[in-house]
Symmetry: C2
Subunit: 195 residues, 2 copies
DNA sequence: TTACATACCGACCACGCGGTATGTAAATAC
DNA sequence: GTATTTACATACCGCGTGGTCGGTATGTAA
């Protein structure tokens, strides 16, 4: 056949890119169709409507992407240094555009949580997964850390700051502020160690 | 006359509320007109277009509101405790809806920075003002603080975390996560003191 | 009273959007 | 070889939006 799965995948990936760059609402189907070089009929053959396309992007693109990104950072021997390396690599390796574009999870959280319940629950689930991932791996090395630490609280704190910093760099359109905040975040994280 | 200034002010305030709750793009003029009980002609008499209305809301409502909110928190004798009290008061006094709704500055930053240059520059300016406000007041009590502190970096860090936490609470639709992050933020802030 | 500017009204418009209905060619089943 | 289903393509529709424009009521100054 004309490889339906490939068509579907192409639509998903380009949609993911568009949604990441423009947000969900501002992303127009016609724009996706042009980039994919498929017709509206093709899109509506694979997805019930725009919302379902959005959900599919979240589940099939963003979610695995996210876990693949964070897991190695935190499942390393020393998660403290793992996280610091991860964040540091982010502003040294990522282009300015990528950083200014922001994290898809945070972007969608800001845009869609209050508008659509389906998105909200998916986002919430992802955030909880991410939080557990970090909290568990910090607990794993609890003996090296200060003894007054609430692991879940610290995990949420780290993610909050990270998301806040990418939000901050949107208005300055460069990664200087992102770098500043991330550096301070590394200070904070390293300070979790007992000394 | 029919008090043009009052009409203008009413449009500004209701627009500010709508933009805060729905975002700028999702805010429809017709909705504003209904709530204001004025005609489209009245609105376009006072504002050139939707964008200019948005700018006016930012400059005449959000900016002063923001400064009045943060200044007392940080211009107090002990800005460390001032900030902690400020944040703590935020999750004890604010309703769940208010917190979930998020900070107008952060919301607009996320939504409009990448789309419209006029918004971006106004937001950037506000962020820099806020950063200076915090940094200067921390420097004011530098003798009580650790001596390895980059004041600007710390100020950006604090605001980032604050904004990140309000973003976080959008998906959970309650203020528990907000509270968690803010508590950890207070731990961090108090830890700036030398001991 | 005249002349004019300000403040406001409401009908109308073009546009782009998400979504649908109908048609058709390719692949599969029988 | 034929029937049926799958995988698209295309033309079309209704709706809500920001924005315009001719007209009108209200105030002010000559």
């Amino acid at each position: 056949m004309r490889d339906a799965e490939l068509t579907r995948q192409k639509i998903l990936e380009i949609s993911a890119d568009e949604i990441h760059k423009k947000g969900f609402v501002a992303t127009s189907l016609s724009c996706i169709l042009v980039r994919c070089e498929v017709s509206k009929g093709a899109l509506y053959h694979h997805f019930k409507n725009k919302m379902e396309l959005g959900y599919a992007v979240f589940e099939e693109i963003y979610t695995p992407m996210f876990l693949e990104l964070w897991q190695p950072a935190v499942e390393v021997n020393d998660p403290i240094e793992g996280l610091c390396d991860f964040f540091t690599a982010m502003y040294t390796n990522s282009s300015c555009d990528e950083i200014v574009c922001g994290c898809p999870l945070n972007n969608l959280c800001q845009e869609m949580s209050g508008v659509d319940e389906g998105f909200r629950l998916r986002i919430l689930n992802m955030q909880q997964q991410l939080n557990q991932l970090i909290a568990i791996n910090l607990q794993r090395v609890a003996n090296q850390l200060r003894d007054d630490i609430d692991f879940s609280q610290v995990a949420y704190f780290i993610v909050s700051t990270f998301h806040g910093s990418s939000s901050l760099s949107k208005s300055s359109k460069n990664k200087d502020l992102f770098e500043k905040v991330i550096k301070e975040l590394c200070n904070y994280i390293r300070n979790l160690k007992s000394h």
